[in-house]
Symmetry: C2
Subunit: 333 residues, 2 copies
């Protein structure tokens, strides 16, 4: 089934290259991919080189792998995380031989969806020969994300899921003694969220959207976002060009309206201001972040009284969240 | 001719009130104006009260007229400045009796346009019984704005005109011994410019977009923007509701493409995020401005070696600008 999703055959129609005359900017052969923001067409081989160089530059610019020994890569099965694990695997082989990669995956327990995520992740990691650690929420914790539908988090299910994933990926990385946790956040997501945060003036949250969040607690693993300067499309093209499997299904719990509205707005602005996402992100990074950082105090982390993991308050947000889950269960029985 | 432009008769079609059933939110009579952002319809009388109260609140919030004695109002003849001079006249009569108003106008020497501007300004100020001072560029300085078309400023003519107007309104206000200079900048303009400045990360310029720029030099008059929280539409409605004359012609020199693109973009965003302009401005004012201000050093002003007015460098930007004008003339003769 995964094999059938490999799609070198229909690359062209999804690649943005119209007609057959576009030539690769680098080698002059027939192009397979077109990058609007860079006004550039590339063949499959040159695109892979371009992409991997770009990720390498992002990593170097922010010192993401400086003195790193063991990097846990969070792989959900979506295009971004599949691209991430592949590109890191390539870069480690070529440029960071001292680094060891471990893949981690949180099985969210969403029927008909999580099984497919897991199959993709297992296939990708298997093909790359990567050690894979899966945390199965249902088995290990006794709940799955759909159980939040019976709590006040029903309408903020993506937020709750985010808290769960952040908590468990960090805990897994910590338990695996990793000194980095890499996630697949891309430019599009980042700009969509940043735009909203700037509009709200949520300065504390803006500051937290850094490409690297250095550890500020022994149990908090440094988080890195090597794809933060790569677009949705670039990650998608990389998965196509590398002929990797990737999740096609969408999460059945996602209330898409708000996310979609946000996405469409940014697309519209990009239509009027070509390169908007890149400009916005670059300005944020160079002009605002350094100034805003100075005005925000780094929060001091303690250990959660319930689970012992890092926490801002006495009880961490994950334990607060899951306590509501338990309360909902009690009231139902 | 101006009389013919008075348009109580066709208020409805321009007022955003569709059909005849909309009722005034305050008094229940038939509404004449609809304010999208506030989801509110108002009759003419209540709109005037609402508008004047809102300007009063802006003035009070920022202490714009605290200890003011003599306020120079820059009147170009456009809807914003006509609304400004009228509302200030009303507020001075009711709330700030200790304040004296003087109107100032810079005649830009643009054939077929500046004459009409001047007629509107003279009519408005005449009707209000206001002292009006006109600085006629052609007569007093020997040039008009169109002369910049023969200089490198051709493509930035609006920028050059802005420098000229800023310089002469300040000099006039200073010579008239005014302690405030009021201008008609509205919310729409402000948000359009701020959006661009945020995207560029032009922090120094963002900080300069304050509602009040307190004087930092004896020859620099404190500038206030009493309409900064009022929209384009609100100012337009106020002019209609008060039955004032207003300039209809557009400046023939304005290359409209960029300004229009900017305007359309903000309108589109407002379509997707209702209240965008108000939210954006409020967030800027409350969340970013106070933080950004701290990171920017207030520039020290000296006196221009040529004209003696306040300047950042040895020669002020106005004198630099007009020297280019002279150079262009010399090379043409």
């Amino acid at each position: 089934m995964l094999e059938s999703r490999r799609r070198r055959s229909n690359t062209r129609s999804r690649s943005g290259v119209r007609g057959l005359k576009a030539r690769c900017r680098f080698c002059g052969r027939e192009a397979s991919y077109h990058l609007d923001h860079a006004r550039m067409s590339l063949c499959s081989e040159c695109f892979i080189k371009y992409y991997e160089r770009k990720v390498y530059k992002t990593i170097q610019k922010h010192g993401m792998l400086r003195k790193a020994r063991r990097v846990a890569v969070a792989v959900s099965g979506g295009k971004d995380s599949v691209a991430l694990v592949k590109v890191l695997h390539e870069l480690v082989r070529e440029k960071f031989q001292e680094v060891e990669l471990v893949a981690i995956h949180v099985d969210l327990g969403i029927p008909g969806y999580s099984e497919e995520c897991r199959r993709v992740v297992e296939k990708v990691c298997g093909d790359l020969g990567l050690e894979l650690h899966v945390h199965d929420l249902k088995k290990a914790e006794g709940y799955g994300i759909p159980d939040f539908m019976n709590t006040p988090f029903r309408r903020r299910i993506c937020g709750a899921c985010g808290t769960v994933k952040r908590y468990h990926t960090n805990r897994m990385a910590y338990q695996l003694e990793a000194d980095r946790l890499a996630t697949g956040h891309n430019l599009d997501d980042t700009v969509e969220i940043l735009f909203e945060l700037y509009l709200k003036g949520a300065v504390e949250e803006i500051v937290r959207m850094r490409p690297v969040s250095w550890s500020s607690h022994p149990k908090l693993v440094t988080r890195i976002k090597p794809l933060i300067e790569l677009t949705d499309r670039e990650n998608f093209f990389y998965v196509l060009a590398q002929d990797l499997p990737m999740l096609e299904a969408r999460c059945p719990l996602v209330g898409e309206s708000r996310m979609l509205r946000r996405k469409k707005l940014i697309e519209e602005i990009e239509g009027r201001i070509p390169g908007f996402r890149h400009t916005f992100y670059k300005t944020h990074l160079k002009r605002f972040l350094p100034r805003l950082e100075k005005t925000v105090e780094e929060p001091r982390l303690a250990e959660c009284e319930v689970c012992g993991m890092p926490s801002l308050g006495r009880v961490c947000s994950y334990c607060k969240l899951t306590s509501k889950l338990r309360r909902a269960e009690i009231s139902r029985t």
